[in-house]
């Protein structure tokens, strides 16, 4: 449907089951009847000052909020003053509270398609499964191929199909959390839809966004897609075993990323050959310990 990025509505699925859209979950909405619903015609009355500017009346046409005088006409101003994504952020806060209470360390993995997210996850799970209970939420437009690859490692994985949608949102993750029944002090990976643009603005309630850039891509991607690198707390430079065969400039890529996000930590890894993986594993373990410690301070009775 979307001509910009291919996103759409009404096709979201979790493990193949259709997900109810939020807008239709509540009570019926009061729609203004369309013209075609009327069998008769109304005498056309001036519906607003904007439609029919009359000399001597207040000019609403300037289009600048704050110039209106409430009470001078049928129209009035309603202040909202809220973030457009306030609803998503509310769901994200709920997810974050749910995860914090249980000492669960959640990471939101974001990258363009083909950077090696799923391979990285499979290797990471192999290295960590004996230390923590691990679970994965997989986001893809279609198929459950990735969830199947994760399940083959023996850890639970839930596949969210976004249909035409180009990112996961906090409401989807909230529903997934209900279905996953995660263990306390566990590790949750959320593999977002492969897309360097849309997932950047949607908080899922995770502890950190981790952006993965592979050396088979251009080193200027952090400049081309700055929002994602700005939103991430860690950058993994993947497929570093291929560097001898490429003209990729590692120093330049890191410099670009840190120009967009000053101080962004970067780890150079190779998921397939294992290079740099111990540092990545250490980073995760430190996060898991922090999450577990915080939940114990908050709820000493909850083990």
């Amino acid at each position: 449907m979307c001509t910009t990025c291919g996103c759409g509505i009404g096709q979201t699925r979790i493990n193949g089951k259709t997900v109810q859209l939020r807008r239709h979950a509540g009570t019926a909405l009061r729609y203004r009847p369309t013209q075609s619903d009327h069998a008769h015609t109304h005498e056309q009355a001036p519906s607003s000052v904007t439609d029919l500017p009359v000399p001597g009346t207040i000019d609403f046409g300037a289009g600048i909020a704050g110039t209106h005088a409430p009470g001078m006409s049928q129209t009035r101003m309603v202040k909202i003053e809220r973030d457009i994504l306030a609803k998503n952020n509310q769901y994200a806060d709920e997810n974050r509270r749910y995860l914090a209470e249980r000492g669960i360390f959640a990471l939101n993995l974001v990258s363009s398609p083909g950077s090696g997210k799923t391979t990285l996850l499979v290797k990471t799970i192999d290295m960590l499964r004996d230390r923590f209970p691990v679970a994965v939420i997989e986001g893809d437009q279609q198929t459950d191929h990735d969830a199947a690859r994760i399940r083959a490692t023996g850890v639970p994985a839930l596949q969210i199909n976004t249909g035409k949608g180009c990112h996961l949102d906090a409401h989807m993750i909230g529903q997934a959390l209900q279905q996953l029944s995660l263990r306390n002090n566990s590790l949750l990976f959320i593999e977002n839809v492969g897309n360097l643009v849309c997932p950047s603005g949607f908080d899922l309630g995770e502890a950190h966004k981790v952006v993965i850039l592979s050396v088979t891509e251009g080193e200027d991607k952090p400049l081309k897609y700055p929002d994602m690198f700005h939103a991430a707390d860690l950058m993994l430079l993947n497929k570093c075993d291929l560097l001898p065969y490429l003209s990729f400039d590692v120093g330049q890529a890191i410099a670009y990323a840190q120009r967009v996000h000053p101080g962004l930590p970067v780890l150079q890894i190779s998921a397939t050959q294992g290079g740099g993986m111990p540092e990545w594993i250490d980073w995760i373990i430190a996060g898991c310990r922090r999450a577990a410690a915080i939940s114990q301070t908050a709820q000493p009775h909850d083990s």
Binding site: T4, C7, G8, R32, S48, D227
Partner: protein, 113 residues
């Protein structure tokens, strides 16, 4: 970013507001969109028109107020306008900038009747 999703979020907040503050038609919606926010304004306008069809915000005018990007340099503590995340401090050349303005996406107010 995902402008369709943003448009749906805007409509949802309008409908939530309509449920508490009685009005039957939205004539104008004012948004504040920062220069650094990942929003394509033309795309947002297009999707807003699509999702508000058959809603109380049908044919509502969308007024987008641009908020200029602004950053503070963490080296020299000066504040200055920026147009992109990758810009450096024009005074000392440092990349260590903190965004102080221009990454917001807010619904400011509605004109309703």
């Amino acid at each position: 970013m995902h402008e369709l999703s943003l448009a749906e979020n805007i409509l949802q907040q309008i409908e939530d507001t309509a449920a508490t503050q009685t009005f039957h038609r939205v004539k104008t919606v004012w948004l504040e969109i920062g220069q650094l926010a990942c929003v394509e304004q033309e795309s947002l306008r297009f999707f807003f028109a699509v999702v508000t069809e058959d809603s109380i915000a049908r044919q509502a005018k969308l007024e987008i107020i641009g908020i200029a990007g602004q950053a503070m340099c963490q080296e020299c503590n000066r504040t200055f306008p920026i147009a992109a995340y990758y810009e450096a401090c024009p005074h000392c050349g440092s990349d260590a900038l903190q965004i102080t303005n221009g990454d917001e996406m807010r619904i400011r107010e509605l004109e309703v009747e």
